[in-house]
């Protein structure tokens, strides 16, 4: 049993590279840093990896059961807002984790 029992096997693809995920707002404050280096080939994997590196995100930003983002948060992958778990990550990808509540 892995750290996230609810995670589908299909999402447990091999990791490929280190990616710096940039955190904004609540995720940044919880993690205590703006930038976290994690590994993953998809956004789902990045999310799982992020939770392992920053356990403070669990329960507040990342669902402890699925390893995926809780409602209210989204990734921005190369300037595109997405919650597609299977979105592939390239070594050069820019990945941001932000609140879905954009703006004022």
């Amino acid at each position: 049993m892995g750290l996230f029992p609810g995670l589908p096997d299909a999402d447990r693809a091999p990791v490929i590279d280190t990616v710096a995920v940039e955190l904004f707002g609540v995720p940044s404050l919880l993690a205590g840093q703006r930038r976290v280096a994690v590994v993953g080939a998809t956004l789902q994997e990045l999310s799982v990896s992020l939770a392992a590196v920053c356990p403070a995100l669990l329960g507040k930003v990342i669902d402890p059961d699925t390893g995926w983002l809780l409602g209210g948060y989204t990734f921005v992958l190369d300037e595109r807002f997405t919650t597609d778990r299977r979105a592939p990550i390239a070594p050069t990808s820019a990945v941001l984790l932000v609140s879905t509540v954009a703006g004022g």
Binding site: E22, V26, G72, F81
Partner: protein
């Protein structure tokens, strides 16, 4: 209708008279309340072509059926007048206990016209209206004014007041109540032009709701949900959280929109402010969200504490090249104390900073010019604006008028739409918002067009066609109109699964009138059209639905660049989605279709007659 009193209080400051007039139930049915009601009363009471700072320009305060019901965030006061800043509709909304107090007087709205012969305090105590000399209040900031009035009259009174800027006719002066501002479009200048320093209100009669038990249960549920993930950003960091993210996305207006990112962003980010400057947080009147974060200076200078929202932070920070949070806090505190809109203040000063950078003559010694990144000059210029002294007298006109006076090409870097300065979103990368800002009835406003939500999502991409963006912009505008009229805080929108459906259910419980989600959608469309009607009546033309030259390229339209042809194409599409003519006017048949024609039938078109018609019975 439950939740309303069905009448307004009309006050004429010139004659010192007042009277009650009925508000037909159909007005609430079709336009809900709040901004919808205020816009309607403004359209009815404001003559075409009126000079905004003349006695004839009505100053309207309106509540809604939700005010005072215990629905979280709903205690909001709508303020409307013809804007002295833009010449089109000026509508503002602020949360305060004054909204509850006004509703408890037994009136749903207050319409003030005329000009008092001397500085005046208007007192509304239930249905008793008195006028008191306010000479001793002149020169006081809004908070001190409210304290003095309540000290004299009792803590049961709630107070709206202007600061020195309103007294001096600064065109973007605000009306302050409970520390919150009806900030944009210059309602404070209208109030000042009427010699009205403050309004004190006390009431003792609520408006019964249709289903008190059902409403209490629903309101409790909404209050619980207001504390969920959908509002976490606001509760835990506040809107200041936007700044670092916007900087990273390249949409943080910097140095008068000369750039979209700022080297000092981290220093003034919401996260840094929270860690290094935060004191506490508060909620508005009857609000469970509690988004209002307060901060304190930490530099050893004069201690200052202020509330900071993202818009204040960007306007007095990155837009002016200021990376010192202590300066931004002092500037924000002074804007509040003087009673001026921080966005326009920062944007107009940023315009002057660029003038100084380019060597444009502004009629004052070089040493008196504000400079990008120079905190001392920013603070000095804010003071000058509030008192209309030196360069401040020019800048008190706002960037559109100031640039027209100065000329020398400076109009091209005056960053406004219809005279209202752009909020803290660079439209070059946010194209749905760009359209929303261009067509906005009160000018460039993110609160009346939350179209940025579409840009900050995966719903559209940069190549999306004009009609898709037009539809999204119109929908966002109508949704904002519904929230502003109900009156619910926009921060609740993420706590609601079905915004229109759940709001309609609340509306039914309050008013007793069965209301559907589609009823609210239609009301939103109606209110957006109503505001446009006001502008048309005041002489609006299509040429005003555009953006500053700086953010537009002149090349052929392409959905990946914000070019002038592309913006024009989006505006065309927006008019089409709205059912308007190509020149942006509203066909009579459309007014009929959306249920506005009978409400506005007897209001005269532009320039044909000065309307003095009372509100219809």
């Amino acid at each position: 209708m439950y939740g309303t009193h069905g009448r307004l209080l009309r006050v004429d400051l010139t004659t010192g008279t007042s009277g009650s007039e009925p508000i037909p139930e159909i007005v609430f049915e079709r336009l809900l309340g709040g901004i919808g009601l205020a816009s309607y009363l403004l359209l009815r009471c404001c003559p075409a072509g009126v000079e905004p700072l003349s006695p004839e320009n009505p100053l309207v305060f309106a509540t809604s059926p939700f005010v005072g019901t215990g629905i979280t965030t709903a205690s909001k006061l709508a303020v409307a007048a013809k804007s002295p800043q833009t010449g089109v509709i000026g509508d503002s909304l602020s949360s305060s206990y004054l909204a509850i107090a006004l509703k408890r007087t037994g009136f749903d709205a207050l319409v003030v016209t005329g000009r008092a012969p001397e500085p005046t305090l208007l007192v509304v105590d239930d249905d008793r209206v008195t006028f008191r000399p306010a000479g001793r209040l002149m020169g006081l900031d809004p908070a001190a004014t409210a304290e003095a009035v309540r000290g004299d009259m009792g803590a049961g009174f709630r107070v709206a007041a202007i600061g020195v800027a309103g007294e001096n006719g600064v065109r973007y002066a605000a009306i302050s109540n409970d520390g919150r501002l009806a900030g944009r479009t210059g309602a404070g200048a209208v109030m000042g032009s009427k010699n009205l320093k403050a309004i004190a209100v006390r009431g003792s009669r609520g408006a019964p709701v249709a289903d008190p038990k059902g409403l209490a249960t629903a309101a409790r549920g909404l209050a619980e949900r207001s504390l969920g993930a959908g509002t976490a950003k606001y509760r835990e960091v506040g809107t200041a959280a936007n700044l670092a993210f916007f900087d990273r996305m390249g949409v943080l207006p910097t140095r008068n929109f000369q750039a979209g990112s700022f080297s000092g962003a981290e220093a003034i980010s919401g996260e840094t402010l929270l860690l290094d400057h935060h004191t506490d947080k508060h909620g508005c009147a009857a609000c469970t969200v509690g988004c209002e974060h307060r901060y304190r200076t930490r530099d050893g200078g004069p201690a200052t504490e202020a509330r900071l929202e993202y818009e204040t932070l960007f306007a007095l920070g990155s837009l002016c090249g200021i990376a010192d949070p202590n300066v931004v806090l002092r500037a924000a505190a002074r804007c509040d104390a003087l009673g001026i809109d921080a966005i326009t203040t920062g944007a107009t000063i940023a315009w002057a900073m660029e003038c100084a950078e380019r060597g444009v003559e502004l009629g004052v010694p070089t040493a008196d010019l504000p400079r990008f990144g120079d905190g001392a000059s920013l603070l000095a210029t804010i003071e000058a604006i509030g008192t209309r002294s030196g360069l401040g007298d020019l800048l008190a006109e706002g960037s559109r008028r100031a640039s027209a006076i100065v000329g020398q090409g400076s109009e091209s870097w005056a960053m406004h739409v219809k005279g209202l300065e752009l909020p803290g979103y660079d439209p070059r990368k946010l194209q749905t918002l760009a359209l929303g800002l261009a067509v906005g009835t009160r000018g460039a406003c993110h609160n009346r067009s939350s179209a940025y939500e579409v840009d900050f999502s995966d719903r559209l991409d940069r190549r999306s066609e004009a009609t898709a963006r037009a539809s999204a912009a119109a929908t966002a505008e109508d949704q904002a109109a519904v929230l502003d009229s109900l009156t619910l805080c926009k921060f609740l929108r993420h706590a609601l699964v079905d915004l229109h459906g759940e709001s309609a259910a609340l509306h039914t419980l309050v008013t007793g009138r069965p209301t559907s989600a589609d009823d609210l959608r239609r009301a939103g469309e109606r209110i957006s059209n109503l505001k446009k009607l006001f502008n048309i009546r005041q002489g609006w033309t299509r040429a005003e639905d555009t953006l500053p030259p700086r953010v537009l390229t002149e090349n052929d339209g392409t959905p990946t660049h914000l070019s002038r042809p592309w913006l024009d194409e989006m505006v065309d599409a927006y008019y089409g989605v709205r059912g308007w003519d190509e020149d942006g006017t509203i066909p009579a048949a459309h007014l009929e279709r959306i249920g506005l024609a009978d409400l506005v039938a007897e209001i005269q078109p532009v320039g044909t007659q000065r309307s003095t018609a009372p509100v219809a019975v």
